[in-house]
Subunit: 353 residues, 2 copies
Amino acid sequence: MNLRLKSAYSQLKERGLDGLLLSLPANISYLTESLSRDSYLLISEKGNIYFTDSRYTEEARSFLKDNARLKECNGPVFKCIARAALELGLSSVGFEERHLPFAEFSRIKEYAKEGFALVPTNGIIEDRRQVKDKQEIARIRKATRITALSLQHIRKFLKPGIKEVEVVAELERFIRYQGARASAFDIIVASGHNSSQPHHLSGARRLKDNEPVLIDLGVDFQGYKSDLTRVFFLGKINVLVRKVYDIVLAAQDLAIKRIRPGAEMAEIDRVAREYIRSKGYAGYFTHNLGHGFGLEVHEEPRIRGKEAAALKPGMTFTVEPGIYLPGKFGIRIEDMVLVTSKRCEVLSGSINK
Amino acid sequence: MNLRLKSAYSQLKERGLDGLLLSLPANISYLTESLSRDSYLLISEKGNIYFTDSRYTEEARSFLKDNARLKECNGPVFKCIARAALELGLSSVGFEERHLPFAEFSRIKEYAKEGFALVPTNGIIEDRRQVKDKQEIARIRKATRITALSLQHIRKFLKPGIKEVEVVAELERFIRYQGARASAFDIIVASGHNSSQPHHLSGARRLKDNEPVLIDLGVDFQGYKSDLTRVFFLGKINVLVRKVYDIVLAAQDLAIKRIRPGAEMAEIDRVAREYIRSKGYAGYFTHNLGHGFGLEVHEEPRIRGKEAAALKPGMTFTVEPGIYLPGKFGIRIEDMVLVTSKRCEVLSGSINK
């Protein structure tokens, strides 16, 4: 049994639970140290049970080892889960209230009758995942390296006349030759005025001379994600675009310099946001400054205005201020940082901005 | 306001509801005729409200037209939703119990207090989506055409020595040059013994002479998905592989011939399953015969042993029997059919098997 599971047991005890049902794939992957999909995991000191269907049993057998017993479940999963909890004799089973649909909650409850209590929980495993261990950091470094190589490659590929989606195509091809399993999310290639939409759907628009091309790219390396944004320019850079770019870059730089163990997350967001406000773009930085990444591309911690929690060594998150001028253009610069014992390391620091 | 929304209103009336909260992205896309993401939709004859955050508002404004009012919601979404339902004066609001996390259900309920009832519903919109209209079928045909061209292309690309993930890379590139927005799911390339895992994660294994390569590919064209599997052979085909291939192909053929409006779904599954059983492979066809596809790659109807419902013209689903011999190899042949007024059209019929 691995250390992550053991640590989870002590979390359960603190909450007066004798079992926890996991439904968030990233949490299950974390606890089983695998690339789990389409599964549920029930953990308890009395035994861990992994539920999946026949499409995945051969794969699951190979990665579960002694971490959990495999239960193939081709009928309604709620029955399998409830029965397993009853058989283990559990009395108080937590579930992930943000990641269990209402229907499954109520079916399990109905089936369990008075056999055990189902207790909503929140973030037990996500909290643990915020601080990365050595193996996780090594994978994140590799994902970042692949991202750096891909951006270096795509710089030469960008030309007026090619479609946004063709840039995506080339990136989707290239990353897999560098060892990525897949992209971490729908790669964003937003040219010209499309860049004013922070999550633009890349499409048939053709790149043109003298406009920005925003690329937001992430890859998956052995389950760990990267997430990085750069803006490229074809031809000449318009004066306003240059000005906005410099403001975003300076805001990011101020935020990164403020990162250290113990610093309040809200403070990191604030320093970037206030700088952008001071330059007259208060209403145009419309999202949080950053987010954790790891097994998920968006995970805890959230670097935003209301987050009073303190940074800890081993946390990995993005720093990505942006200014979006609707119908005109948008600039976002996104880097990935690792909080160290004194300050932070910009994992993506080698990638030109 | 579009016809899909109007038809949804009458479904609500039949159930005694005056509102419905949608959280399944495909249902929201269907009702707003868009590529909606990260959103919620509250519909009611008193008004439709679309909730999203600042990353998507510019995009949403352009596709919502008069179908729904846009509500930008950067705080907790449950508050926005509950407040909107209260403001509309709704008394009984359905929600999608399979697609709303327990936490959101309970927060909305708590916030709404006695203002309105929250009623679990199931499949209201999914049922409507089972039968495709002309525009949907046109998009599915286009997605199928792209898939056909991609398989034709990849046939020449397959060579001993290249990695599974490199085949995925080439497909991910090629489909986008043919007009696909993205792949519909993680493309499966499973070579040799890996093919015995129905949902193998494509990896670093290199293709070898004299073994099968299973490719399961789907693309997204304007939101509509395709899903198709072929097995290719490098070099000579082993006698057992050939035998199993022929059994799967014959089982599929029998099932397809049985498809007609009014036929029971279970019957289509049964005819393939019984043929495979008669050939001695009863325990090795471990999943359902097929599934609907459209805005989702897996949707209603499910073509499986317990489904008593009848086929209707306009339904689109896969027919994909398989035989998996753990540790050895697997064969799956998957085609896409459209139920017509008399029988069915195999949409992917032009693709060699």
